[in-house]
Symmetry: C2
Subunit: 144 residues, 2 copies
Amino acid sequence: MTDTDLVDALAQLSFLVQNALAEIGAQHDLSLVQVRLLGVLRDHEPTMQELGRHLGLDKSSISGLVDRAQRRGLVTRTASPVDRRVTHVSITETGQRLATEGAAVFAEHISSLVAGLSAADRRTLTRLAHQVISNGSRVSEEHD
Amino acid sequence: MTDTDLVDALAQLSFLVQNALAEIGAQHDLSLVQVRLLGVLRDHEPTMQELGRHLGLDKSSISGLVDRAQRRGLVTRTASPVDRRVTHVSITETGQRLATEGAAVFAEHISSLVAGLSAADRRTLTRLAHQVISNGSRVSEEHD
DNA sequence: CGAGAAGGTTCGTGGTACAAACTAATTAGT
DNA sequence: ACTAATTAGTTTGTACCACGAACCTTCTCG
């Protein structure tokens, strides 16, 4: 296997990005999952179960996660009109503001990381990352 | 800011890689931090505090982490001969085996993710990732 | 209508992270 | 040399996070 270097680089890179995300969250007392939660809720109003699939978590984990976020006024639960078993989760004004701010800080942080790359290199990196990602979703769909 | 796409791609990519890592760990009942712990210990025999710096964790967190890993026979503590306050952490035979196996599975997984890329693209991705990484370590060193 | 399936919650267990208080060992200051 | 301040690690208390199992309610299907 000649790709050890690439494997290593991707691993390190992933930690770099995740640490940035965790750090930014921490500045507002948010854990990584809570950051992800708000991130998802920015453009969706999913049911608990959809949320679970999205985040790869058990439904019981979602219950607790939403509980805590709700206690802090970041999200709300709303009953579905069509099926009284399901509850939708939506982001509040406060949560929205936090998410937007955080996203901006994150974007800035990442931008500083790739600041040393030429515009062409950045485009290339974007393209390659997308390729890997689409490859990844294909792979994970095989396990349904 | 024209780099939203790149920011997004890197974020998604990082989750892809971390999920792979977490999944592989989970198959041996290892959390992500424990995977990282074994990863570090593969080629170092650090003190508790060095470990903490390496993983970005508080020393009390390290105590617990090493406690649990030690309870499972993955690592051992050894007293330093030169300074009786410090304890070094080293990986056991069992831990070593686990780490090596896991690393192989991980490499395989990542390789499958980048399988769609040409050899030239893989080389380019490696180069760009390294550039971002070195940029990232530089940035984080500014906060010492 | 009754049996079973599906969406969520609750509970119990254990890992994770931090801060604060504490012990033991080393280093500095005088 | 002897005390004072530092440093390495541990312990304790609190909160979060994740899971599985048991449970309740609400559909759905036969």
